[in-house]
Symmetry: C2
Subunit: 403 residues, 2 copies
């Protein structure tokens, strides 16, 4: 007997028919003799509907009240799913994050899980109940409801899998696994049977929508075996584990992200620690900075460029302007019409040929590169947003058509 955590996203529970389908998958797993913890997102458009209600009343509501509002979405899902399983005659119970005791930081709308109490869930599992838990949410030290931000339900699932030493954490979604790139852009994209945490992490953080990087980070940290699998078709998905089978090519996949903005501080006086200062300011506003690049400017000055999420552009510009005195720059250049294309693969950067081949593909497609950044297993280029899809196709073709 194994303990399996199964997470279903909003599109998998969007109406009664889909909930019955999800209940069928859960029932099958339970009836094979497994303990099952289920994690659910809010139904389909529920979150958007709730946000619309809130905006109609006050477009500048506090994040604390927004979390209070949005948390109802998952509570509805878990109750309905429990009802569906009851209809099949299976013992089950739904629990909210506060009933489980999913303790988080107090950063509303973007909280981090700190600790999960195991007593209540364990007691229910011991009574052979299927336990259905609200994803995406936690409670902070005061007992206030928090939400975990983007990809929050995946993170809830992995955190529960870690807390209960689950044998497997299955992320059910509307695609059937992780692809070498977005199959809607590149029809020759291939589904991977396995991928390592590190590769998945880079793909996820570089824009592959299938999993959020926070959940993969957590899975890597606690060695949680994950599987991305379709809730619509019964076929094997993609396993994410410590060391995936080494495949022929060094490239695991190609990802894109068009939700970024590019900011440059131009004409910085030479001031040691200015990059750190920029980081610190962004962090104070909870803005994630990616791809920092420092370069020599004209005269004796330097430029610092970095990318952030589009939604944070206004906030970033305003805090930088506020600190113009101490940062000592000439002016800010900002552009949200950029995109990022990344290739990810084990040992990628130790194989010089790969970078060369990537640039060759972009050169042949006539695409301009604005910035380059790399990690041990990733190479990213920042491009004009309009070039992104062509770039993905060009790079994918270059590497995967050789097989």
């Amino acid at each position: 007997m194994s303990l399996i955590v199964q997470k279903f996203g909003g599109s998998s529970v969007k109406d009664a028919k889909h909930i019955q389908n999800v209940a069928g998958i859960i029932a099958e797993t339970y009836l094979r003799g497994n303990d099952v913890i289920v994690v659910l997102s809010a139904q389909g458009d529920t979150t958007d509907d709730l946000i619309a209600k809130a905006e109609e009343i006050n477009p500048n509501s506090s994040k604390r009240e927004m979390d209070m509002l949005l948390a109802t979405g998952e509570q509805i899902s878990v109750a309905l799913c429990a009802m569906a399983l009851q209809g099949m005659g299976l013992p089950c119970i739904s629990l909210t994050a506060w009933q489980v005791g999913i303790h988080s930081t107090g950063v509303h709308s973007d909280a981090r899980i700190k600790k999960i109490n195991t007593e209540r869930v364990r007691a229910e599992l011991d009574q052979h109940r299927i336990v259905i838990v609200t994803g995406f949410q936690g409670i902070d030290r005061r007992g206030d409801v928090t939400t975990l931000g983007r990809g929050g339900s995946d993170t809830s699932a992995v955190a529960l899998a870690a807390a209960f030493h689950a044998d497997l954490c299955q992320i059910y979604t509307d695609v059937d696994g992780v692809y070498t790139t977005d199959p809607r852009i590149v029809p020759t994209a291939r589904k991977m049977n396995e991928i390592s945490y590190d590769e998945m992490l880079e793909l996820a953080s570089q824009g592959a929508q299938v999993l959020h990087n926070r959940s993969v980070e957590l899975a890597k940290k606690f060695r949680v075996n994950m599987e991305v699998v379709s809730s619509l078709e019964r076929k094997p998905g993609t396993k994410i584990k410590e060391v995936a089978k080494v495949e022929k090519t060094n490239i695991a996949g190609v990802a894109k992200d068009t939700s970024i903005a590019h900011i440059s501080l131009v004409g910085l006086q030479h001031s040691p620690g200015v990059a750190f200062q920029v980081f610190a300011l962004m962090s104070r506003k909870n803005i994630n900075v990616d791809n920092i690049l420092q370069s020599i400017g004209r005269d004796d000055t330097k430029d610092i460029s970095f990318t952030i999420h589009q939604k944070d552009m206004e906030a970033a510009i305003s805090i930088l302007e506020e600190n113009k005195e101490s940062l000592k720059f000439d002016h800010i250049e900002a552009d949200n019409k950029v995109g990022k294309v990344s290739i990810v693969g084990m040992g990628l950067m130790s194989n010089a040929g790969i970078a060369a081949k990537t640039f060759e593909a972009l050169y042949e497609a006539g695409i301009n590169i604005q910035m380059i950044s790399t990690s041990e297993i990733r190479l990213s280029v920042i491009l004009d947003e309009k070039d992104v899809n062509r770039a993905v196709k060009a790079i994918h073709d270059k590497f995967f058509d050789m097989d």
Copy 2:
């Protein structure tokens, strides 16, 4: 400075416009220097929509999961109301029943409040925040969500008023007070400025929709000053207090209830304690029994008749049939096409003329009486359902046209 509890029902918060209106009433009260605790029901049709979602998936869901589902309704209301108050620049915070610590019994869908923790709410009031609490719900000993059944939000409001020794508990509704009878049936019905707990209790328990008797019982027990007032018009409502001003007539009002069913156990062998046995069986199924009547039947047998809520008729019949052996009756007669009309007033039963005048009114209207029951301040008659409205009008005219 006073502490005021204000409760708004589902129709008062049904959409953004109504929530802004409610926020305006709260703001006015707060800005006059009062501490304010707000209790809200779910928005308009939310509860019905959630029930419909549940029924589509499983018409026989457990009450535990139904409570989990329905509790989201009030959570949505309190978050939205907090957002509206934030939009007016007022400090406020929404809290669910579990965040406050509204502890209840574990009877799902019909729980009773046992204890309210005061720490969290007190801390928020001390910071001059308006505190907005979900009505209708509690948590049981296990930390499971319960709902309080009919009139639950009124009960939440009175219980909070009692726990915090509030100076006033205002029940905002879509009528402007308590009337001598339903003004939709009897256009000459008058609004009362004051009414005593006991009179309100009898009116409420006899079908007057404006307040549920549980909330009035609680108000009487803890001497909570209540006021029923309109959320749509700014004018005085009806005050409910220990001793109301004695009015000229002995009759405070006329109420009706058409949601009842009438059950008779016919041909009972003489067996002491059979009435108790019937009570005990009904209580085991959580069925409230009203208006018990024991009468001499044919031969050596007796009949016992009583009324219950229509919804409980099937359950009542089946448990009585199951216990036919021990109860020793001949057969059951059941009828859900009955209604109850009650007149309520201080000292009513000590004035024999009132009963006589009531029966005279019904006689003149040609209406048959099936059963009669009385309390110190109430006289109820069970009638054919089709006669109920005519009976209300006949009795009201008889008493109030004399003024």
